[in-house]
Amino acid sequence: MSTSTESTTAVATPGYPWEPTLKEKRGKFLVFVAALLASIALLFGTGLNGKLGWVIGFFLSFTVISFAYEYRRAGKPAAQDSLLTSISRFAIFLAVVPIVSIIVTVVVKGWRGLHWGLFTQDMSQATVNDPITNGGMLAAIVGTLVMVSLALLFTLPISILTALYLTEIKGKFARPIRFLVQAMSGVPSIVAGLFILSSIVYPITGQRNGLMGALALSILMIPTVARTAEEVLLLIPNDLREAGLALGATQWRTVAMVVVPAVKSGLVTAIILGIARVIGETAPILLVSGGGEATNFNPVSGPMGSIPYYVWKAFLLGGTEESSQRTWAGLLVLLAWVLILFTIARYISTRTQKR
């Protein structure tokens, strides 16, 4: 055993030699302080004002000052590097602010409108301008549940089979169908509502009900679910398909026993994304489901409300403090649904990636 080995093992402690030194940290801090001071100076010295003005001023001065600092410290490439970093940070900030702001606003304003009756009463005996404790969202919640579940029932087989056609069967029409499905995901939701209205409600049934709403939602849901399902199916290595076929399985058996189980979690994610896509749709519901106030579990008879419809109505017909509270409470419930669904989707997809 050589002495050098012994001495290293004796003194070795875990270190982080790639971390910035104290001097570098101090430099970064000074840049930050300078940018802060410069932004305050900008606020008083120029036309910029308010919180937004200050934020813009801060980012501008931070970008310029850190560019100059890096240029002096390490030359042009480092300065360009810092420029890109600053701009990316600003972009992230711009992207996150509206989202956080929406969530905070909805929670703060909707919180006061929450009460137990919201989930046990409907609006058949109350108007939007009544005190908030009169009536509730039961009709809306039931309507949304019934219509989204029905839409899911229609969408699931159609979209999964479409995805299988595109990735497994790879039929002659795969290319045009892929193009159509992609184009369909951009269809404005009111078009889906108008389509059901003009092709089914007016000429055939003559009645607005939950089933019509579910059909309109399906049109919006199919492209989303089919595309996501196609993407996860494409991730399956071809080796697995060949392994199944080489064991003497038919293509159908291989797909059902090897391919689909391997992407189960991806398909669940696709479905949840599809639900999240349609749960907040207002326009098609407004056109074809009739928007009832009374709790209605029957999708083929009588009008049916929905959460977005509840929000829309409280906002449009109101004008009082009570109706405004109803609007925000409805938004909070809807937002909570969507956030819960996305969280479940994230959880499922990350959990399977780890395994």
């Binding site: 697995l240 064991l247 399985a249 058996r253 090897v258």
Partner: protein
């Protein structure tokens, strides 16, 4: 002189094996390729290969990359046709019947001619035990003593001792070499008469390679094996016959086929000699 010593050692390795004579092993069916050509689109990948695989023998397909070994192997159990632009000419006879004849049930053919792939590809959604028996479910076969079959296949693949206490675990928990032996066990469960192996050890360490070579030797008691390999030592160790394939930029062709010890000690063709002595390839 390295190139001078290599053929000697290969030949001596090969000579240490008894070459099985065709017809001496009355088991399973032999496989015969008759004038097989293969194309990918307009590219002619394989030209006029005629080659017999006698029942109960191990045949190694050797040759440099791109010479059409794997393509040829995949024509033998009709996996070639899964490539969208693929085309084919010629016949492949299993027990005297052309597997490409019209009206042939291709799934039955693949049941009789199993395949092990280059990369281990156990089914990720199944446990170790389910993987072994997956072929039965996939082909909808009924077997009365599933547990016995499970054990038998894992024993024959040389994996039983390592996994017998963890059959319920997912296959991804196994090492690469274990996964490959699991794939061998999986292909044995449907009792194929012929087993095609496409470079089964190329992704494995020497220890796992050794285990799989042992497995091949044991399996050759009861079935016909065709193995594609880049490793000439491996060909010398495991095979009764070796077939050398080569492409001179055009389609791959069969240059020479002979009992393995002959091919390595006294190659008839100059190109074979250049390859097995390591002068190119």
């Amino acid at each position: 002189m390295k190139s001078a010593t290599t053929p000697q050692s290969l030949a001596s390795v090969a000579a240490s094996r008894e070459t099985k004579k065709p017809g001496t092993m009355p088991i399973g069916s032999g496989l015969e390729a008759r004038g097989v050509h293969a194309w990918f689109g307009k590219k002619h990948a394989l030209k006029d290969v005629t080659l017999d695989f006698a029942a109960g023998t191990v045949t190694a397909l050797i040759g440099p990359s791109g010479c059409g070994k794997s393509t040829f192997l995949r024509t033998l159990n009709r996996m070639h046709e899964f490539i969208p632009t693929a085309a084919l000419a010629g016949e492949v006879l299993l027990g005297g019947k052309d597997i490409y004849a019209p009206g042939t049930d291709v799934t039955k053919i693949r049941l009789r001619i199993g395949m092990v792939f280059q990369k281990p590809n156990p089914f990720p959604s199944m446990t170790i035990g389910q993987n072994v028996l997956s072929g039965l479910k996939l082909a909808q076969l009924k077997v009365s003593h599933q547990d016995d079959l499970l054990e038998e296949c894992l024993v024959r693949a040389g994996l039983w001792d390592e996994v017998k206490d963890r059959l319920g675990e997912h296959a991804s928990a196994l090492s690469g070499g274990q996964q490959q032996r699991l794939c061998i066990a999986r292909s044995l469960a449907v009792r194929p008469e012929v087993l095609l192996m496409d470079e089964p050890c190329s992704a494995l360490d020497p220890g796992s390679t050794f285990r799989i070579e042992q497995t091949i030797s044991e399996l050759s008691q009861s079935m016909t094996i065709v193995i594609v390999t880049h490793n000439m030592q491996q060909a010398a160790r495991v095979s009764d016959y070796s077939a050398f394939m080569l492409s001179d930029g055009g389609p791959g062709e069969l240059i020479e086929v002979a009992p393995t010890n002959e091919l390595f000690s006294r190659p008839r063709d100059k190109r074979t000699e250049d390859y097995v002595t390591g002068r190119f390839g």
